[in-house]
Symmetry: C2
Subunit: 419 residues, 2 copies
């Protein structure tokens, strides 16, 4: 199947906003077994939109557009697509009522121009918008009904704001696509690993997975700083069995490195594990500068398990707030095993937490020496019974250095909490 995405938005073309729809939709579609074949982004201009949609209609089985459904003068998608397909726009009483209710709940009068959002191309399916006013639209297109080449296409129009688009896709579009477009059963499972390179991951599983590959298993890898994903998928009646058998092999061979599945992020796994075990965490960050605390506190419910952290960016802070001894700082330097250990112990005590982690290193670009080059990091994990330090060398530019170091901390923490 050919699947094409069309994102409209003049701000995209000026680079003023980042297009996150592409990644989000591609991943969701891939999980349904629908791999996107082309992504197009264009300005909010009628000529551009018409050309792009017409071109996609000539190629694709499924077209998803985002944006251009709102009430302002640069929202053109609905009208242009109706025109292109020769469909009339008809006011839909239910949609109008939904829009009126939306504003009534907020004690605001309905702005007159939202009226256009209630117009629906004839025959289109309305996708209710729980988080905004413009509904999505889905159209089934039967081209050349008389010809032997006749085929069915689907065109889905989604609103631009992510908080409207995402729930609408998950609740309404995914089930529709599964029903209408995914002929064969499709099963997909992603196993997320850390602390191991892509080629080693491959080496450890590929041979043993070969018999399953012959039965239809597809294996995909995705390497990012600090994590490698293994994606197993299969189609057809035996898809579930084949993927399950593949997962078993990957689990067995990579057990120590698997931190989660599918959409799991490391910080979510940390919060989930600590919540299950009713344990708490404290942090002492130097070179990661608050990134680890920030990621932990992005997870709803983090306050149940996260006591807090200290970003000890100066030696004085390490000494005064974390209780690192002055002579240790002086003798070993701020980036050292001894200081990492005292930082973690200090944080655990100060916050009264079950687990604590400290990180001290040289993020760069400045500050490196021959003995301790830019990228040197010491990580210390302390629990009631243990205190362990690791020394790593993460040679990346500053922000990636912080991200990679955070990944290593999370991966290690997950193993320690699980143990």
């Amino acid at each position: 199947l050919n699947v094409e995405l069309i994102n409209t938005g003049s701000e995209l073309m000026l680079g003023r906003v980042l297009n996150t729809h592409q990644q989000w939709l591609c991943r969701r579609l891939a999980d349904l077994g629908l791999v996107v074949t082309r992504q197009v982004a264009i300005a909010d201009s009628s000529a551009e939109i018409k050309n792009a949609v017409a071109e996609s209609l000539a190629r694709a089985d499924l077209i998803i557009t985002t944006g251009g459904l709102g009430p302002t003068s640069d929202d053109l998608t609905r009208e242009l697509i109706a025109e292109l397909l020769g469909k009339k726009l008809i006011q839909d009483a239910n949609v109008l009522r939904d829009i009126e209710n939306y504003f009534a709940r907020r004690n605001r009068p309905r702005p007159a121009q939202t009226r256009v959002e209630a117009f629906v191309p004839e025959g289109a399916m309305v996708l209710q918008n729980k988080n905004g006013t413009a509904p999505g639209l889905a159209m089934k297109i039967q081209s050349n009904a008389q010809s032997p080449k006749s085929k069915v296409q689907w065109l889905v129009m989604l609103p631009g704001p992510p908080r409207e688009l995402r729930p609408m896709f998950d609740e309404l579009v995914a089930p529709l696509l599964k029903r209408e477009l995914v002929a064969e059963k499709f099963v997909c499972r992603t196993l997320r690993t850390s602390g191991i390179g892509e080629s080693v991951v491959q080496e450890k599983i590929e041979m043993e997975l070969q018999p399953l590959v012959l039965r239809g298993l597809e294996i995909g890898y995705c390497a990012r700083p600090g994590a490698v994903d293994v994606r197993l998928s299969a189609r057809g009646a035996n898809a579930k069995k084949i993927v399950a058998a593949g997962e078993k092999i990957v689990q067995k061979n990579l057990a120590a490195n698997i931190f989660g599945f599918d959409d799991d992020e490391m910080e979510n796994v940390v919060v989930k594990l600590l919540t299950q075990k009713k344990k708490t965490l404290a942090l002492a960050e130097s070179c990661t500068g608050g990134l680890i605390a920030n990621r932990i506190t992005n997870v709803p419910g983090a306050s149940e398990i996260f006591r807090g952290g200290i970003v000890a960016y100066s030696n004085a802070a390490k000494e005064k707030i974390l209780g690192v001894r002055a002579e240790i700082l002086k003798n070993f330097g701020a980036v050292s095993e001894a200081v990492a250990r005292e930082m973690a112990v200090g944080a655990r005590e100060k916050f009264g937490a079950d687990f604590s982690v400290s990180v001290t290193g040289i993020a760069g670009p400045g500050g490196g020496t021959v003995d301790k080059p830019v990228g040197t990091v010491f990580i210390c994990l302390v629990s009631e019974s243990k205190s362990e330090v690791r020394k790593l060398l993460n040679v990346w530019e500053r922000e990636t250095f912080k991200q990679v170091t955070a990944q290593q901390v999370f991966a290690w923490l997950i193993r320690m909490i699980s143990a």
Copy 2:
């Protein structure tokens, strides 16, 4: 001029990676006066790449491709484009030497397959890659030299990794495009504001800018949570004068809300101002959970001005580490003006900093009450001479709530430091 971007990468189509090239290149091109008309992303498949490039060649004056220049079997861009344009690939001795030097500097043997990276389509300009092995390539294409419709097109191929692509674009491609494609002088200036909505920004400047608009000034707005950009641009001989006159008006009417220009991010401005004034900063974060510290420490040189921060996510931490009095916590609650004030004062003292900021609020989704709904935030700024608190209501989902609150903190901090 028609400008098209083509990003290749199968991982893009599976949604495993975020496409950041589009935004980055669109912004850089817009600053040269070249607005991208279409962005296309496709898998690393020869059919897809050939189709996409052929279609763009039929429309565009400038085509920029990213990715597919490496040495592996799915790097197809160089070969396919040479084939499409009927150009031979010729080994370039200088490129081969550059690649050999690249590995020699790292004390590693040159992998044999990197040899393909030294092949250059005849007539192509080589764009040296200082941060990797595959050079970029720029081709000037004269279509139908005999016909009156003859036109010149440029096709630029860039490597996929951002740390290779970005410096190559800035150092080699931007000057080339300026020289070859930007016929008219183009001047562009972005003024970045905060603490004020898009419609108010517009109201405060549009009328007064009208005479300049008649002389060719273009005004663009971009609103994001916590910040609104005003982009002024003009073309032609008077461009510089017109944009400068526009900037003067915007400066006058929005002075208090402007925090920076062009690529300035708030955290960079904070670090720059503190460095200039030789002042230091400390943080006490509750609901932002380390995000502010994280953003500050993303800025190279932050260690000169940032003493550190405390992520006081529990009441015990607020009391024990920041010295917030128990009775204040009990009487007013953790999310209150009084607690915000004691947190900021505590952080300033503990870290011995000139300025301190505290943030306490309810990020949600849980934890709201009738008096203090989800989104309630108290921010306190303390300097040697002042202590001020603001109460805000930021109703967004959790991560956006944190981002918006951080923007408000930075904006306020910038004004306080500048004062």
